[in-house]
């Protein structure tokens, strides 16, 4: 017996080369995952580092006397008469309360009374006025109220404002920060978790400390409902028709090219379309989540259709043939057998489409949703109909806040992004759970 010329245990040149190629290929894959993960970590870290502080806020605990002679000149506690005192009339009360509080604590300061007043947020006067109007009996007494501190004071406790920067800052002074620190030491000034960031409406440029996401969260929620309810069924239905039923001819080619093309249309063009069709032609309300949702639906449809078609295409023909062979109609084979198998791909497409819809600002620009909105939109109202009241959306709030001059809005914008990502993560989790149920190999 002759010894074998080649042992299976000794790799020859070719096998070595093939194994090396295999190793390289494997590491390319790992590298790709690594690149994506690194990018994700860097982006998330920068957002978190900037935005985490938006969820905490600095408050001043004040005891505010409410003199009847300024707040209710008529003396009969008539709400209509009391409403004539504007927020400009309430602001001095807050200022005097803080001045008195500083004096009581024996804090020596060179700050003028106006400078002390500037330590309080401009929002505070409005919230005090609302409290008094809601309960006129408070007038004449003293009310204990936690009011927002000014954005610069708040920034000092979050490290954004320092003594050095305050030196050059026209809107605060080192002395004000020193007083704030002393107030914090005795517990008159506290920094605590800020639910208002998630519930309060947007605030103007002078009040970064009061700005919240309430209206934007509602607006995004309404729009996502519209998009989900419309885009998913329409997109899947269209994809099923095009992939499974449409005759393969020039017309269906045209439709296929047309849909891929719609995916490449810049999103602002959908805004032009929305303005022309939904607002000017159909007469739906401007700035409403309904119009926003419809525009985003049209924008996400191509993504969902393309993803669904790809998923349907990937289901092996044998599945359809087996169903047809057992006497199912074409419709039954699609709905009972092909569609469940294509579900993971459909879900991926839906998630990517919804993520895009959730993060998009440009199409909302021309239909009036990139706006400053303070009133909470109701889901349904007699006058405005379903989702008809003006609202904004989370990406709009991010976009608006990054444009604002006051540096206090930087953390707000990042905080809004964190909220947006939480929204997205929730949607993603649902999709992952569903996908896991359907995912399979054959």
């Amino acid at each position: 017996m002759t010894s074998p010329t080649k042992s299976l245990f000794v790799q020859d040149e070719r096998v070595k080369r093939r194994n090396a190629a295999e190793k390289r290929f494997h590491s390319y894959g790992l590298c790709a995952i690594g690149v994506a993960a690194l990018a994700l970590v860097v982006l998330l870290a920068s957002v978190l580092a900037n935005g985490a502080s938006a969820f905490r806020q600095t408050y001043l605990m004040l005891e505010i006397p409410l003199p009847a002679e300024t707040l209710d000149k008529g003396g009969d506690r008539d709400p209509a008469a009391m409403a004539s005192v504007s927020t400009f009339g309430y602001a001095p009360l807050l200022r005097d309360a803080l001045v008195a509080s500083i004096a009581k604590l024996n804090i020596e300061t060179t700050l003028s009374n106006k400078d002390v007043g500037d330590m309080i947020s401009k929002e505070a006067a409005a919230s005090l006025r609302n409290q008094v109007l809601a309960n006129p009996d408070l007038v004449g007494g003293v009310i204990a109220l936690d009011v927002l501190a000014n954005g610069r004071i708040d920034g000092f406790f979050k490290g954004r404002v320092t003594m050095e920067s305050a030196e050059r800052d026209g809107n605060t002074s080192p002395e004000a920060l020193r007083v704030a620190q002393l107030l914090a030491d005795v517990g008159v000034l506290v920094t605590r978790f800020n639910w208002q960031f998630l519930t309060a409406p947007d605030a103007s440029d002078q009040r970064p400390e009061a700005a919240g996401l309430g209206v934007a969260i509602l607006g995004s929620l309404y729009m996502m409902l519209v998009v989900l309810v419309l885009a998913l069924p329409i997109g899947v239905a269209a994809a099923i028709y095009l992939e499974e039923f449409a005759p393969k001819n020039r017309v269906s080619d045209l439709i296929e090219v047309n849909i891929s093309n719609l995916a490449a249309v810049p999103s602002i063009v959908y805004g032009i379309l929305g303005l022309a069709i939904f607002i000017n032609f159909l007469g739906l309300r401007q700035s409403s989540p309904l119009v926003g949702g419809l525009v985003l639906t049209l924008m996400t449809l191509p993504t969902i259709i393309i993803a669904t078609r790809a998923a349907l295409k990937a289901v092996p023909p044998s599945i359809r043939d087996a169903a047809l062979g057992l006497g199912a109609t074409k419709m039954q084979s699609v709905f009972h057998h092909v569609l469940p198998l294509a579900a993971p791909g459909i879900l991926t497409g839906t998630i990517i489409g919804l993520a895009q819809a959730l993060g998009e600002t440009a199409p909302l620009l021309l239909i009036g949703m990139v706006a400053f909105v303070r009133d909470y939109p109701a889901a349904y109202s007699e006058t405005a109909g379903l989702f008809g009241e003006a609202a904004t959306a989370l990406p709009v709030q991010v976009f608006n806040w990054t444009q604002r001059a006051d540096p206090g809005f930087v953390e707000r914008a990042s905080g809004a992004i964190i909220t947006l990502l939480v929204f997205l993560a929730v949607m993603n989790t649902v999709a992952v759970l569903l996908r896991r149920r359907f995912e399979r190999r054959w």
Partner: protein, 345 residues
């Protein structure tokens, strides 16, 4: 229910909701993003102090705002358009075609435009001719137009430090760019005597000479910013040589990061701009549809509130935020009270 039935019933619900649409009860404002912060401050105060809904203030630029303003009269159109420039006659024509003929023009104040650089960098004191020499595409040298070769500030003006020219100026979409070209570059062109030199060269064609004065170099030393002032600020912080163009209000909120450059020895602030000493500023406007004044609840009150002394006056919140209040505010208040219409043709 199958997904298909669901679709059908959803369509039905949407269609039903649409038919329920009725009168709008909030004021709808659209337009310039320069006016937006001021309008938002007023809208917020209005919502707090009146029994009307808070007005909705959209941004999107003067152009888009006026376009939607001119789309017609009715609930589905905006009531007020904010603009960082006066409405043009071609726009008024479109307005009139669509039935928007009665327009009240309201000037709310002035926007100062300032030049600022990183707080840690060198300080500058400019004149318009410095900017012209630094940013012009071509300069007249020895009887011919040659491409601008100044790459460092000390080549422009020997008092300046040896620092690379890196200017961040508003892109051609911004109204600020027009003001910058006319009040800085063109002025500098005239002041430096370049205008005369160009006129000599081209045989007295004034339009062409002005064009040439306002042409900005495109070799990368001047960067157009199509975004907003926060982008300009970020670019300056990423590039220490950068000098940017900002609105006064933006600068006043970021004095800890930016240093402002005086222009012709005048430091920009609300006082120097209101008096006209500081040359680079522009008026801000908004336009109201007279036909909506008695229809949309709160519109008349909002407009009056906007121009009232306690809001738009020199001690009001708008001035505090950086708006240069209009010395002729009382005239504007009269116009609002009398509903003085804009002369259309």
């Amino acid at each position: 229910m199958s997904p298909l039935n669901l679709t059908a019933s959803t369509l039905a619900i949407v269609a039903a909701s649409v038919t329920a649409a009725a009168a709008r009860d909030n004021v709808q404002v659209a337009g310039s993003s320069t006016v937006l912060p001021y309008a938002a401050i007023v809208a917020e105060a209005f919502g707090e102090n009146f029994d009307f809904s808070t007005p909705v203030v959209e941004s999107g630029g003067s152009s888009a705002g006026l376009k939607r303003f001119c789309e017609g009269v009715g609930e589905n159109t905006v009531d007020i358009a904010n603009a960082s420039r006066a409405i043009k006659s071609s726009e008024l024509e479109v307005c009139a075609e669509n039935g928007v003929t009665d327009i009240v023009e309201i000037r709310i104040g002035y926007d100062g435009i300032v030049f600022a650089s990183d707080i840690a960098g060198n300080g500058f004191a400019f004149t318009p001719s410095d900017w012209y020499m630094a940013l012009a595409a071509e300069l007249p040298v020895d009887g011919a137009m040659v491409a601008n070769s100044n790459s460092n500030w000390n080549a422009v003006n020997s008092d300046f430090p040896d620092q690379q020219i890196q200017a961040f100026i508003p892109g051609t979409k911004h109204g600020t760019r027009e003001v910058f070209e006319e009040k800085v570059l063109l002025q500098g062109c005239i002041d430096s005597g370049a205008m005369d030199a160009i006129l000599n060269l081209n045989g007295g064609d004034e339009d062409a000479a002005e064009q040439s004065c306002m042409a900005v170099r495109t070799d990368g030393l001047s960067v157009d910013i199509d975004g907003d002032y926060t982008e300009t600020l970020a670019r300056i912080e990423a590039d220490a040589n950068g000098i940017g163009v900002f609105g006064l209000a933006f600068y006043e909120n970021n004095t800890d990061r930016l240093q402002v450059a005086p222009m012709s020895d005048v430091v920009p602030n609300t006082a120097s701009i209101a008096s006209g000493e500081y040359p680079v500023s522009r008026p801000l406007y908004f336009y109201v549809k007279a036909a909506h004044l008695d229809v949309i609840p709160g519109l008349q009150e909002f407009v009056s509130f906007f121009v009232s002394d306690e809001i738009a006056g020199p001690d009001g919140p708008l001035a505090e935020y950086g708006l240069v209040s209009d010395p002729e505010l009382s005239k504007t208040q009269d116009a609002v009270a009398n509903r003085t219409l804009l002369d259309v043709m």
